[in-house]
Amino acid sequence: MNNNTTNVLVVGVGGQGVILASDIMSEVFMQAGYDVKKSEIHGMAMRGGIVSSHFRFGKKVHSPLIKEGEADILFAFEQLEGLRWLNFLQPKAKIIMNDHKVNPPVVNLGEMEYPQGIPEIIGSKFKDFYLVKGTEIALQIGDARAANVVLLGAMSRFFDIKEELWLNTILNYLPPKVHELNRKAFFTGQGEIHQA
């Protein structure tokens, strides 16, 4: 695939704000001067199903879909979904994962177990791995729905793009009454990444 393109796979469960997060990212990178494409499936996936959004930026992007085995960054909002999409990654991919679990129906019914030790499994296969307590932090700040902004804050640490652009774009997507909370969510998320 085109080496100038960066491939970000954003995954999670319907209702977690995966699509909003990838919308925000594509807006940020477009404003920063890149060609961007992104793609996801809505419709039935809204009802608690798997959500995966492919986001790509570079000089000229053709396919809106990432080729399996070539995702450079996995941005996972839920542990099981992070695990599910590992095969889409290139060997040196970076992973930023929300430390949060949402049981799928078969687990609720007691027919299958939720896989144990997902962070350890991922950590053993990918060195560039960051586990962020996005949902927990958002709850502490006051609203679980801000988890995606905590995670975007963490994500923003890995790109050479002005903090203002991130923050303004995020707040543009949200009603004014939650701006203060999400500003805090963003900065707390940023603070969770130390190695960058």
Partner: protein, 604 residues
């Protein structure tokens, strides 16, 4: 912009006056965007796609530029007017947008609607990204007016729901006056007029072929002449991504095809491969012209959508190296689900308990076919449940009494269920139909319809009264139920399926996501872990808020000393408090936090 937003923008820039649609994934956001962003365009949700197309035919007759948008199977519903619209042509430009769904992300089949362009002898454009979606839509209106033809623009889910950068332009004003027109010979397809018109259609087709040769959206890109790819739409982008150095014939117009341009491409490159999702539409038509591509459906599947990996694999064949999976264990799947508090859940729980077969229809409730509810048994097309239930009644006679029902949502009923319900009454059926009136078009994300009392822009309007409508149609037994009251729901269904005359049961529970219909939500329920015996009855409601957790040691006994293997748990952040689980628990382990337990919600 998404492809759908770009199509809406294209309509705006082209000076469209009237746009009509029925919601359907992946097309829904086209009209939603128009309603939200472009206030000068008249926009409506029509009750179905046939009506939507007829509305825009009338608008075009009056001289307005006009557009109808629908999902692929919606075009089947609109096919009747479409075939004759081809004969009558247009005054104001008319574009029909068809959004196909390869991979069936949210559809009952994955038909290839390029065949409709050939069938109706009309031009079809296929964009490969958002920018082209906007451009081709605008071009569609010019072609429509120049050639006096309806134009189709076809996209797929990956176009509709992918975002790319789009350059904006100012809207134009159409030069065609909008006025009352009397054009009997043009618009009245009596045999004598239509015979003449068929000749006109064939002449028009010759001219459209000439246009296709010159259209700059059909272009040859010569790089390495060893391999030449013929492709269109999203497949072109995948191929271009994986094989940037090959040569391409990129078709922006997929019908009619440019014969001379194709001939030129075959001369310029050594080996030609056709890459297209679904049917071999381009390939077969290119072969019919006498050309011999080396590759096509011998390399690629007719099923499902493509992606860059599939395209690479198809072209490289044996040389293809599959990426090595780093994780191979089977993982729990995560299918879509009825929401916590969904008004459909109680009905399907009752159907399961009564062991009734349910002729189903299209909507969120089709998900009740999955375990644990497993109580919906057919899904064909919009409105089919009622005809099927009636047909089963006629085939089975007395032996079928009390054994089955038909189940249909409110929006689906208004789309295609009224005529079959009338038929049931007229032809003396004993079938029972359950109308799941959740007061919205749920599956596509909550759109208005003639039963909600609001237009697409949220203005108040006439609201259909389902009870009165059923009376007028001649349905003898009409009942209403609160679908969150399990005992009542079960009792009413049981009574109605035993009757000799047609019955309609209307459930009165709005979609739980439709905030405006609820005075308030209830407090979440809680499991008393000392009483729960782990029988899984509540778990089998299939509510995403209820989970089952295994227990060991001290926890493996209830307060009364009964053994248990696990207990239920209710996630209070997900539970809106519908109280269905409260009703099914025989051990009093599920506790209401309301002053006294309720059946469902206080609604408006």
């Amino acid at each position: 912009m998404t492809g759908n937003e770009a199509i809406a923008r294209g309509a705006f820039e082209a000076g469209v006056k009237v746009a009509a649609a029925y919601p359907g994934t992946p097309s829904t956001e086209i009209l939603e965007t128009i309603a939200r962003e472009y206030k000068d365009i008249y926009a409506e949700w029509s009750p179905n796609e046939k009506v939507a197309l007829e509305v825009v035919i009338g608008a075009s007759l009056a001289g307005a530029r006009t557009m109808a948008s629908m999902k692929h199977v919606g075009v089947n519903v609109a096919a009747d007017p479409l075939m004759t619209l081809s004969y009558v042509g247009v005054n104001g430009g008319l574009v029909l947008v068809s959004c196909d769904d390869p991979e069936l992300y949210s559809s009952q089949n994955e038909q290839d609607n390029r065949h409709y362009a050939r069938f109706a002898k009309i031009p079809m454009f296929e964009p490969s990204d958002s920018q082209e979606a906007k451009e081709f839509l605008k071009l569609g209106f010019e072609v429509s007016e120049t050639f006096d033809t309806p134009v189709m623009v076809r996209g797929v889910t990956r176009i509709s729901h992918s975002k790319g950068i789009v350059e904006l332009q100012e809207p134009v004003v159409s030069p065609i006056p909008i006025e009352v027109r009397k054009q009997t010979a043009k618009y009245t397809m009596l045999p004598s007029f239509a015979r003449v018109k068929h000749g006109v259609v064939e002449e028009r087709f010759v001219k459209l072929k000439e246009f296709a040769e010159k259209f700059p959206g059909n272009r040859i890109e010569i790089n390495d002449p060893a391999i030449g790819i013929i492709s269109a739409g999203i497949s072109y982008e995948y191929a271009k991504e994986v094989f940037p150095n090959y040569s391409y014939l990129k078709l922006g117009m997929v019908w009619p095809l440019p014969r001379n341009l194709i001939a030129e491409f075959f001369k310029k490159v050594k080996k030609v491969i056709v890459i297209e999702e679904l049917d071999p539409f381009l390939e077969e038509n290119i072969r019919a012209m006498g050309f011999k591509p080396k590759g096509g459906k011998n390399l690629f599947s007719m099923c499902g959508e493509f992606n860059p990996l599939i395209v690479e694999k198809g072209i490289l064949g044996k040389k293809f190296k599959s990426p090595q999976p780093v994780f191979k264990e089977p993982l729990p799947p995560r299918p879509p689900n009825l929401c916590p508090g969904c008004p459909h859940r109680g009905v399907f729980h009752a159907l399961k308990k009564l062991k009734l077969v349910a002729a189903g229809d299209i909507g969120c409730y089709t998900l009740a076919a999955y375990p644990p509810l497993s109580s919906l048994d057919t899904c064909i097309c919009m409105g089919a449940s009622i005809g099927q239930a009636h047909g089963m009644a006629k085939a089975l006679g007395a032996a079928g009494k009390g054994k089955f029902v038909g189940v249909i949502g409110d929006s689906t009923f208004l789309h295609g269920g009224i005529a079959p319900l009338m038929n049931m009454a007229y032809n003396k059926s004993y079938a029972t139909i359950i109308l799941l009136d959740n007061r919205t078009t749920g599956m596509t994300g909550s759109q208005e319809h003639p039963g909600t009392g609001y237009t697409i822009r949220g203005e108040k309007t006439h609201k259909i009264d389902f009870i009165r409508l059923a009376e007028v149609l001649g349905v003898e037994n009409i009942r209403t139920v609160n679908p969150w009251n399990l005992e009542e729901t079960e009792k009413v269904i049981k009574e109605e399926v035993e009757k000799d005359s047609p019955s309609l049961i209307v459930t009165q529970g709005p979609c739980v996501l439709l905030r405006r219909e609820f005075k308030k939500y209830n407090k979440p329920l809680m499991v008393d872990s000392t009483k729960c015996i782990g029988c899984k009855t509540c778990v089998n409601l299939g509510c995403p808020a209820i989970s089952y957790q295994k227990v060991e040691g001290e926890m493996a006994l209830t307060k009364d000393g009964k053994k248990r293997k696990g207990i239920s748990y209710i996630d209070s952040s997900l539970c809106p408090g519908c109280h269905l689980c409260y009703q099914v628990c025989k051990f009093g382990a599920i506790q209401s936090q309301e002053e006294k337990p309720v059946f469902g919600f206080e609604t408006m």
